[in-house]
Every structure is written in structure tokens, then in C-alpha cells.
Amino acid sequence: MTVFDVEKIRQDFPILKEKIRGKDLVYLDNAATCQKPQAVIDSIVQVYSHDYANVHRGVHTLSVRSTDKFEAARTKVKEFINAASDKEIIFVKGATEAVNLVAQTYGKANIKAGDEIVITAMEHHSNIVPWQMLCEQTGAVLRVAPINQTGELIFAEFEQLLNDKTKLVSVVHMSNALGTINPVKAIIETAHSKNIPVLLDGAQAIPHIAVDVQALDCDFYVFSGHKLYAPTGTGVLYGKQALLEVMPPYQGGGDMIRKVTFTETEYNTLPYKFEAGTPNIADVIGLGAAIDYINAIGMPAIAAHEAELLDYATTKARAIKGLRIIGEAEEKGAILSFVLDKIHPHDIGTMLDSLGIAIRAGHHCAMPVMDFYNVPATARASFALYNTRQEIDVLMNGIESLIEVFG
């Protein structure tokens, strides 16, 4: 596609025709989860109607077909993030499970009492709690690199936190609560100069930023499929092969073994070593379909469209008296978090819903970020490739009207 035609794209998403409380749906909760294009929905129907059986085991035709499609999705993911090999793509149920997997395998094998793990003050709970659990289990210590008022990492302070005891840096690529895009290349270079591996939480970044794990040189990259227009229950852990090879397995069971007796078990090769049990076959195939869909439009075109939407929304939001934007980093993705004077985000959420507008109101699973800005919650509008300027106009008119009603 050479021209980005948002009206044509909207036709691909059946849910966008829904009426909410009698109004046209304006879906601006994409940072929570994205809607699905017909191609993804069709791919699941296709699998269950024509291609479904268990993978990696049967010699019968359907099992072979199912396995081929499942493994083709792995190759699509590999190419999408430019990993070096299919062996580096582990399917999990979401970014959260991927972080937990690294914490409980790599972490337990390599992080001991007194060692340190460095995160940032803008992390989602899913990149805080797994490390806290690991620290509790091992006696390691969690260190938090601070952010400034605009919502940017204070790089000098991050750098100072790295020392001989630091065994892992785990940072968010793009913040879900603030929209901040972290300087991940510099973070990785700095950590690597001290031989510290880096995990990037790409849950928010993946639908907005073209990711090249080899160019970034990150050691682990995690993301969820459902924020990438793919079905829920799909997620990816990318890890450098050399690291994955020596990591102990995560869960035991079928598919992750090569040979089992009652005295010992020989583990399967990568990536299967980390994929115990029957995987989420149909939805992973759906993830492959989502990647095909995105590739057909092109990440650069998507990123440009979303950047334009964010600019437009930010300019309009700044003109509203009593509105304060939370998170104004220089490098920012398609997220507009805000609070209104004397109007609680939940009231904003309910009132906008009555106009057909879906936004998120709450702490966005980032309670420490809320504490930092001294707000109980924020309202958050987040944009995707199918959103339009007109929808932002509807949102802003809605905000102005509700300010009036609250008086």
C-alpha cells in the first residue's frame, strides 16, 4: 500500500461499525488492547474449520498442516522483529508470562543474594512484580532508575545505578501510562559496556515502533499479540540463542522433552524447550495473520499516521482549560494520559462512554507512576492505525462538554 488510507483500513475492522449507547464507537483504548481485523478473525475460523489438529506430534495430514501453519507464524514473528533464528522465538500467553519466564529461569540460574536488578520508575506492574518475586526468592535487590516530571528516564541516574552487582536491566520500551519511548539503544549500550544483559518490555512499543532486535542488540524482548491486532493469549519471548540454550526450562511437560524415563529427562531443543504442553495453536496462527496484515500496510506508514494523531490530539488537549497532560516526553508514542481539575478519571470515563467513546480510566497497572505524579488515576486515550482526526475531535468536544456539566 503506497497511500495510507485510514477509511479503507477501518473497513477491515468489523467492530468499528458497532454502536455504543446509540452512538458511533470511538475506540481509544488501544493501549489496553487493540481491535482485530477481519483477516485475523478469518484466520482463526480457517484453522478450526479446515486445518486444526495438535502440532508437533501426529503423522496425519491435519497435524502436519496445523504444525506448518503454527511454525510459519513463528517465522513471521522472527522476521517481524528481525531475530536471527526461529529458535529465538518462544510462544507464551503474553508479555507478562514472558517476563515471568525470564525471571524464573534466567533469573533463578544467574541472580543470587546481594545481586541487583535495575528497572525504571515508569514500569508496568508486569515488569515490577516478577522481579520482586525473584528478589524475595533469591535475596537479590531491585533498583529503580528515576524519571523526571516530563516522564523521561533520568539517564545519568540510571547509569549510576549500574555496578558490579547488577545482573540484569529490565526496562519498558514504551510506557503504557505515559507514552514515553525510552532511549533503549543507549540503555543497552551502556549496560553491555558493563556486561549486563537487557530485557526490553515491548508490550506497548510493538504496534507502534519497528523493532529490530539485532540492531538493538537486546538480550530479551517480550510482547503480547493482543496489542498487535492479534488474538489474546498470544505472546512472544525473544531471547538470544546463546542465552536461551543454557537457561533451564520454565515448565515441564509434553513437547519440551526429547526423552523421558523415570530417572531422568532430556530436554528438547529450542524453542520447544520452553513450550511445555499444547500451545495456543489457532491464536498463534492468528498472530501470524496480524503480522501479515501490518506488513501489508507497513510499520513506517502506521507510525507516521499515529504520530500525526498524537500531535493533533496533544495540541487540542493543551487548549482545554483545566486539562493537564501526564507524560510529555520528547520521544513519545500514541498515548495521551491526562487529568482534569476536580473531575475524577472514572467520571470522565463514564461520561465519555455515554458518547460512545472508549478510553481507559485508572492506574493503568502502573501505580508507582500515579504516585509519582500524585494522582489517584488518569484518563488515557491511546491511538491505533484505524483512528482518525474526526474521532479526536469527538473526544475533545466530549471533554469540553463534561467540564461544562461538572461546572
Binding site: 472514572h346 488515576a377 456539566v405 461538572f406
Partner: protein, 150 residues
């Protein structure tokens, strides 16, 4: 523009949100309980002054959405002068009004509190309205620890 919401956001609710009643600390309170809704961050502290089993004064501090602020504000007004049993009966009625299945709930019996009946159509907001009353319930049972809606 917000016609659909008139049942939920009645003028009385805006009024109590703008000017919450009994928004103060009772220094020599006999009961003091904190209520917290972790989903939306609503937080309040309820203070009761008792004379035997009669609530002689009630007040609160905290921050929350319009529904939760109006709910606790109205509650502190209505429970003043009530006995513990009467307050407990009100708690039960309020709970039934906001969460119950009875469509013929007698709104007149609950007086002014009926302005909050609209939340039953908004499941995501029921806890905003009931936080105050669950906190009261804990205070009536003389519990010390903070209560949470989750």
C-alpha cells in the same frame, strides 16, 4: 449532550461533589475507618462520634469520583442521629438498591439516597457508590483495619 446519564449523574450528585458535606476530621472520633477502592484509587476516611449506640456526628476525608464523593457526603448527613441498628438497616437497603435484583425496590423508603439508584445500571460504578457504606459497615462492627472493595 449527556442525556443518557441523567439517571446516574443527578444534580444532587454534582452538588455534593462540588460541596461535600461533613468534609472534616473529628479529632475525638470514637470510630475511624479507612476505605479504599484499588481499582480507581478512591480513598476515604470515615469518622464517627458515638453516644451509646447513637451516631451523634459523622464526617469524612479523602478523594474520589463524583459518585463516591456524593455517596459518602449523603451518607454522613443521613446517619447522624441514627442508632447503630438503624444505620445498619440503611446499609442493607442501600446495598439492595445498588446491587439487588428487585426492580420494585421501594425508593421512597430510602429517602434522599435514592439519587444513587442509577448506579445499578452501571456495574463498573457500583463500587464507587458502595465504598462509603462498606466503610460504615466496618465502623459499625468496630473494625480497625482499612477496608477494600476488592
Amino acid at each position: 449532550m449527556f442525556d443518557d446519564l441523567r439517571d446516574l449523574y443527578q444534580e444532587v450528585i454534582f452538588d455534593h461533589n462540588r460541596n461535600p458535606r461533613n468534609f472534616r476530621v473529628i479529632d475525638d472520633a470514637d470510630r475511624k475507618v479507612e476505605g479504599f477502592n484499588p481499582l480507581c484509587g478512591d480513598r476515604l476516611t470515615l469518622y464517627l462520634k458515638m453516644d451509646g449506640d447513637v451516631i451523634t456526628d459523622a464526617s469524612f476525608q479523602g478523594s474520589g469520583c463524583a459518585i463516591s464523593t456524593a455517596s459518602v457526603s449523603l451518607m454522613t448527613e443521613i446517619i447522624k442521629g441514627k442508632t447503630e441498628q438503624e444505620a445498619d438497616a440503611l446499609f442493607r437497603q442501600f446495598h439492595e438498591m445498588t446491587t439487588g435484583k428487585d426492580e420494585h425496590f421501594n425508593l421512597e423508603a430510602i429517602g434522599k439516597l435514592a439519587v444513587l439508584a442509577g448506579v445499578r445500571e452501571y456495574p463498573a460504578r457500583v463500587k464507587c457508590a458502595t465504598l462509603a457504606w462498606h466503610t460504615l459497615d466496618a465502623a459499625l462492627k468496630n473494625q480497625q483495619q482499612a477496608i477494600s472493595t476488592e
